[in-house]
């Protein structure tokens, strides 16, 4: 459908930039504003934008549900795992100083891993919640935009087909 063309082209340009920005915020949380939560939300919103423009079926093909649920728990396990690794290496729970040789290097490593865990879980939870809301009311009526089959706007313009009847 032609009036979705601008949205689709702009979304294709923007979604990689949004993911890149989310990674930037995640790893520069030590040196500027940012950190795990903000990065997770921004990364999740990139996938939500994809699901809004290209349809829920395509989005569920990009991120299968099994992997998504595994990622939800993986971040929390990473965080707790860092704590237990610190205990295993001789310190207290979540004592980052014993993770590397130097105290300051251990702190850096601990904060990096912990923020990564936070970012993974927050991104996965945002995507899961949006898919749960969006997948609820579909039922037996069709999707409004016929974007389930084609992925190229140029092809759409040339073929002028309306996917599902």
């Amino acid at each position: 459908m032609r009036h979705h063309l601008v949205l689709r082209v702009v979304a294709k340009l923007l979604i990689p930039l949004i993911m890149l920005f989310a990674l930037y915020v995640q790893f520069h949380g030590d040196y500027g504003p940012g950190g795990g939560f903000q990065a997770g939300v921004i990364f999740g919103s990139a996938f939500i934008l994809y699901a809004l423009i290209f349809g829920l079926e395509n989005a569920e093909k990009v991120v299968p549900s099994g992997y998504l649920i595994a990622l939800v728990s993986a971040g929390l396990l990473l965080y707790a795992g860092v704590g237990f690794a610190a205990m295993y290496l001789g310190g207290n729970f979540l004592d980052y100083g014993v993770l590397a040789g130097d105290f300051i290097a251990g702190q850096h490593l601990g904060i990096l891993l912990v923020e990564l865990g936070v970012g993974i879980t927050v991104a996965a939870v945002m995507i899961v919640i949006f898919f749960a809301f969006a997948g609820r009311g579909e039922g037996d009526d069709e999707e409004e935009d016929d974007t389930a089959t084609e992925a190229d706007p140029v092809q759409d313009l040339a073929s002028d087909s309306s996917g599902k009847a």
Binding site: P33, F37, V122, F133
Partner: protein
């Protein structure tokens, strides 16, 4: 009481009461959730204004070291960061419950739900 020095508390109380009124006076469930969000945001404003120091800057150490730099207090920022994220978790769960309530009762107005419940109770007691 110094009226002008406490103006952040005036704003906080006004916003909090606006959110509180929306929660208890409106019957629509989605408006209650919006009112709850306003209530939460007013509490965030209270903590952040309590942490601000005159002439301070954001609590990030600049490149050239930190001699003579006045910072704002970072501890309320940490507490409010956690509170914002917990707030969105609560909102998401509340909205999911509203969707299920709508599927079960067909409405999201509080008094209509109460009428359906009461008529169901009367039918049960009549048997």
């Amino acid at each position: 009481m110094a009226w002008l020095g406490h103006f952040n508390y005036w704003i906080f109380v006004f916003l909090m009461m606006a959110g509180f009124y929306t929660v208890i006076a409106r019957g629509n469930l989605i408006k209650k959730i919006v009112g709850l969000n306003i209530f939460q945001t007013s509490v965030f404003l209270l903590y952040i204004t309590m942490g601000k120091v005159a002439g301070g800057t954001a609590p990030i150490v600049p490149e050239g070291g930190s001699e003579g730099v006045v910072y704002s207090n970072p501890i309320p920022h940490v507490l409010i960061l956690t509170a914002i994220v917990v707030g969105v978790a609560t909102t998401a769960l509340g909205l999911a419950l509203i969707v299920r309530i709508n599927e079960a009762y067909g409405t999201i107005e509080e008094d209509e739900i109460q009428d359906i419940e009461e008529s169901g109770d009367k039918k049960e007691r009549a048997t």
